[in-house]
Each structure stands twice: as structure tokens, then as C-alpha cells.
């Protein structure tokens, strides 16, 4: 893609697509509702009408959660790859998903939690705790948190927590039976309460992450070069990591672990914009909810009246597209 003008045009086009998907997501569902009624429900809400109730209390919050989670995962993933300078790094590498999963399993197994809202705070606490541990161990030593130490520490802690999770699941079938539905990642049944409780975190995370763009550009040149350019490397990395944890912790708490989005969307953004993080970050933040909403809509209609979880559909439709894109474009390496 050419200069800033065409990148801006691309971003605006992506926003337009996102707007259309938001409308579709409100209009489409298990129960067919006429577009006029949908519009009516949005503009002149009447809580005595069943169709209005569906639109306002089910589809609207679900769409909000999809937007929040999508933006958070895309942005968090892009920042993470910049911090770790590794194409294999996803937010999971900071231990976010493993920590969330373990705490959810503990919530189910020890405290008998069974509601989606009950999982939220367990997941968020687990994600935050695990990533603090990863960062603490990864920054031991003189050099502080270098990308490779962070990545290895993250991978080790992820596996460690994952093993404990698996052990509990194998020892208790009832927990396994409940956990497997959380573990695929889904937007089904996410209500306004979940949206409003996670929104402040994600907004703060978005601000932090977007502010990191220039710093990530400097870090991409290597630590020494970044220092030479006057970048405070340790501070930039720690700040970015805080952004990632808030974003992805909240997203995982709201929708469960959706691995594909945070890993792949930043690569797509990089393929489209080139290596400048000031563009990669906003592109990731818009492309990710596009993928997530499209997948969620497809998941709602593909096996009607049942639903296919969004975590499954994102990868199923996203993976072939991604492989095609990787083959087609010249790669801008991290």
C-alpha cells in the first residue's frame, strides 16, 4: 500500500465494513426479526414487545461485547508482537489465557461457579496474576525484560498453569464438562452487565496501547538502537505489557480464550500497512472486530437454531484467508 493517504482510506473503508457488520449483528439471529422492527426497537424501545426485548437485551449487548473484545484482542495482539518482536507471540504468551483458564477451572471446581458473569472476575484475576508472574520472572537479571526472556518465561508459565488446569480437568469430569464450553471462546449469552463491567478496562487499555505506537517502532529496531534514539526501553516495554494485560485480560474474561484473533489479525494488519506500528495498531483494532463480528454472525445462522461458538468460526474462516494472504504478499518481517 502506498502513502499515508491510501492507508487512511483503507482504515475508513474498514470502519465502514465494521459499521455494516454491527447493523447486521443486531438484525440477524436465531429468531428472524424484520429490519423495520429492529430499527423501531433501537429508536422507540417498547419493553412489552418480545422482539424489542430480544434486540435490546440480547443482540445489542452481544454486539457491544463483540466490538470490545475484538478491538481488545486485535490491539493487544499487535502490541504483544511488537514487545516480544516475535511473530509467534500472542497475548497468550504473557500467560493471559492460561491464568484465566486456571482460575475459571478453580472457580468451577472449588467454588462451584456456574454463571458466565461469575467466570468474569476469576478469569480477569487469573490473567492479571499470571502475566505479572511472567513479567517478574522475565525481567530478572541485568538486561531486564528482553524479548526472548519474556517469551520463554511466558511459555514456561503458560505450560505450567496449563498442566495444573489439565490435571484438575482429568480428575473431575463435571468440571471438564462445564469448562469445555468456556474454553472455546464464545459471545453467546453475554449480557449488558458483562459489557459494562469490562468496557472501562478495555477503554483504558486502548488508550495505553495506542499511545505505545511510536515506542514500538523504536523497539522494533532493537534495544540498542532504540536507546540510541532516546527511547526508555524498559519503561516502553513495561507500559506496553500493562496495556496488553488489561486489554486481553478483559477480553478473555468477557468471551473466554479466543486465540486466533490476537495472533493473526496483527499479521494481517502488518501485511496491509507495512511495519509502522502507528498504522498497525489502529488497523488491528478495526480488523479484529470485523473478523469477530462476521464470525459471530456466521456462527448464529450456520447451524440454526443451534449456534457455533465464535472462537471456532473465527479460526475456521480466518485461517484459509490468512494462509492465502501470507502466500500473496511480500512479508514485512518483525
Amino acid at each position: 500500500m502506498g502513502g499515508a493517504g491510501s492507508r487512511m482510506a483503507g482504515l475508513i473503508a474498514a470502519l465502514a465494513v465494521l459499521a455494516i457488520l454491527v447493523l447486521l449483528s443486531i438484525a440477524v439471529g436465531a429468531k428472524p426479526i424484520a429490519p423495520a422492527t429492529v430499527l423501531d426497537a433501537l429508536l422507540h424501545y417498547d419493553r412489552t414487545l418480545n422482539d424489542h426485548l430480544i434486540v435490546r437485551s440480547l443482540r445489542l449487548p452481544r454486539t457491544e461485547v463483540a466490538l470490545l473484545v475484538g478491538a481488545a484482542l486485535g490491539l493487544g495482539g499487535a502490541v504483544m508482537q511488537g514487545v516480544a518482536r516475535n511473530p509467534l507471540a500472542d497475548p497468550g504468551i504473557l500467560g493471559v489465557n492460561a491464568g484465566a483458564a486456571l482460575m475459571v477451572v478453580i472457580g468451577i471446581y472449588v467454588f462451584g461457579i456456574a454463571s458466565l458473569y461469575g467466570y468474569v472476575w476469576f478469569a480477569f484475576a487469573g490473567a492479571a496474576g499470571a502475566s505479572v508472574a511472567v513479567y517478574a520472572i522475565g525481567s530478572l537479571g541485568r538486561e531486564g525484560a528482553t524479548p526472548i526472556k519474556l517469551s520463554l518465561a511466558g511459555a514456561a508459565i503458560t505450560v505450567f498453569l496449563g498442566s495444573i488446569t489439565t490435571a484438575i480437568l482429568l480428575l473431575d469430569v463435571a468440571t471438564l464438562d462445564q469448562y469445555r464450553f468456556w474454553a472455546v471462546g464464545s459471545l453467546a449469552g453475554r449480557d449488558a452487565q458483562i459489557a459494562t463491567s469490562m468496557a472501562p478496562f478495555i477503554l483504558v487499555g486502548v488508550l495505553i496501547a495506542l499511545a505505545c505506537g511510536p515506542a514500538l517502532n523504536a523497539l522494533a529496531l532493537g534495544d540498542d538502537m532504540a536507546r540510541g534514539l532516546g527511547q526508555r526501553v524498559g519503561l516502553a516495554r513495561a507500559g506496553s505489557a500493562v496495556g496488553v494485560v488489561i486489554l486481553c485480560g478483559a477480553a478473555t474474561a468477557a468471551a473466554g480464550p479466543i486465540g486466533f484473533v490476537g495472533l493473526v489479525v496483527p499479521h494481517v494488519a502488518r501485511l496491509l500497512t507495512g511495519p509502522d506500528y502507528r498504522w498497525i495498531l489502529p488497523y488491528s483494532m478495526v480488523l479484529a472486530p470485523i473478523l469477530l463480528l462476521a464470525a459471530d454472525i456466521v456462527g448464529r445462522v450456520i447451524i440454526r437454531p443451534a449456534e457455533m461458538q465464535v472462537g471456532i468460526v473465527t479460526a475456521a474462516i480466518g485461517a484459509p484467508f490468512f494462509v492465502w494472504l501470507v502466500r500473496r504478499r511480500n512479508l514485512a518481517e518483525l
Partner: protein
Amino acid sequence: MTTTTADSTGQRGLAATTEARAIVAASRNHGRSRAIAITTALAVATFAVVCISVSIGDFPIALRDVVPSIFGFGASDTTFIVQEIRLPRIVCGLLVGFAFGMSGTVFQSLVRNELASPDVIGITAGASTAAVVAIVLFGSSSISLSFAALLGGLGTAGAIYLFAYKRGVSGYRLILVGIGIAAGLSSVTSYLITRAEITDVQRATIWLTGSLNGRTWDQVATLAVVIAVLLPTLLLLARGLRALQLGDDAAKGIGVRVEGVRAAIIIAAVGLAAFGTAVAGPVAFVAFVSGPIARRLVASGDIALLPSALVGAVLLLSADLVARAGLGSIELPVGVLTGILGAPYLLWLLARTNRMGTGD
């Protein structure tokens, strides 16, 4: 006058070069002897873990009786237990650990990324999806399950290679295509897991964790043949692998046929990973962690193929020992324990090498 100065500078230069050569040679020899020492120590450790594993179980066997009974010279009941029950599982663990350790470190060197391993870049994802399909849709077990996993692993590796091929295979494109295909496949796995009967889900979870329970001599034999062929192949290809680590252009410059060597290395490493997975499932972490641990032990910056393979074997065998006999009445699949034992060791190693200022 001028000639004398030139001569003396020349001599001093010569002396300096000889001295520098001697230093390089000494450090190289030092590195080599350290590598040999570490490899020997790891081999001894492997043997020790094998013996301890043979001796521990519901029917304890004294350590001094272990070696005789392995070769059939012990009391008949001990020999039976050792040869028919304990040894197949232990040798299986040894070989699978060996295969995963080697395959993992080869992938990491090949794509020059410490986070790469067959688990991460899609090969085991293919084996896992095939196995879960076999369990959930066809109710397979043991042999047919192994076969499905093998086909899944090899087929996926072939697909990744083909999709990544575009006038040659760059390591970076291989990683990205691997990520994409792994994600697509694991979505199929998750879909099946949410739709299946809970008993099948449980069996699938055990398989996906990796287990050595009830492995037989037949499975050992297949894996042994595969390793006997692929291990020497990879050791022969090690020179080429070292050259590829310098980057494609540099490797071409020193006369390496880049694409051919890379394809051969990939085939060998995929073979090890796929056959290992077919026997034991995608045991977590072994392929990933063996290379980093071995490279830090050897500390020469070299790729350390044999040490990585031995680290894999020690890790898998100790984990299986704990899984089998260390938790009282609870018996867990080995894949749970490889992570719990391996991760703290990697973290400790990271912290220690950091203190010495050689973190990377």
C-alpha cells in the same frame, strides 16, 4: 631501516595471528569438550532414570536386580514384570522423548526462533485433530488411533510446506503458514470437543495431554526403526543446519544447496515429531523445552542435537515416573507432569543464566 620495521611488524602480526589462532582453537576445544562432557552426563542421567523407573512400581525391584532382569538373567517373576510390563512403557518414553527433543530443537534452529516447535507451528495440531476425529467420530483406540495421528501429522506438515513454498521456503513464511493452519485445525478439534459425549471428551483430553499408559513392544519397535533411520540423517545434516542458521544467502555463499538441505531437514524432523506423537500423543512441552535447556547447558551457541534429544528423554522419563508412581493412588497422563516438572527447570535456568549475564 624501513625493511626492518616492515619485517618486525610482519613478525609481530604473524605472532599475533598465531596467538589468536591458538586462543580460538583453545576455546573451540574447550567448547567441544564441554559439549562432550554434557552429552555424556545426560546419557548417564538417562540410564539412571531408566533404571530407577524399572525398579519402582507396585512390585518393587531392587536396583541391583534391574540390569540383569532387563536382559533376562533375573528371577523369572521379576524378569516377566520388567520385560513385559515396565520396559515397553519406559523404552517408549525414552524414544518419544528422544524424538521430541531432537525434532523440537531442529525446528527452532531451522526457523531461528526459540518459540518454534512442532507443537507451535502446526504439525502436532494436525495429528491432534486427526486423533480427536478418530476418537469422537469413529471410536478408535490404540493402533487405528496411532495411525490416524500419524497420517494427520504427516499430511499437515506436507500442507504447511506446500502452502509456504514460493520459490523456496523462507523460515518466516513457514511459521506464519504453520500458525494459520494450526489455528484452523484446532478450531475443528474444539468444535468436536464441544459436540462430543463427555466420555469421549475425557478420552480425547487424555490423548491430547499425552500419555504412555499401556504402550506395547510393537509401538516401541516402529518408533525405534524410525529413530534409527532419522537420527543419523539429522546428525549428517547438522552441518547444513548450522549453515542455514546464518541465513539463506550466507549458506548459499558457502556452497550449501539451501532448498534441498532444508527440505531434507524438515522431512526428518517432521518424521520424528509425527511418529512420536502417534505413539504417545502430543506430550506437552518436551519438544519446546529440550532445545533451550540443552543449549544453555552446553553454552557454546551451537545447536546441540544429541544433548537436546537426551534432555527430552530424561524429562519425559522422569515425568512418567512421577505420573505413574509418584502421586499415590492418582495416576495422571505424563503430559501433565512434563509441564509441571519442565517449566520450573526452564525458569530456574533462565534466572541463573541471567545472573551470569548470558540471558540470551
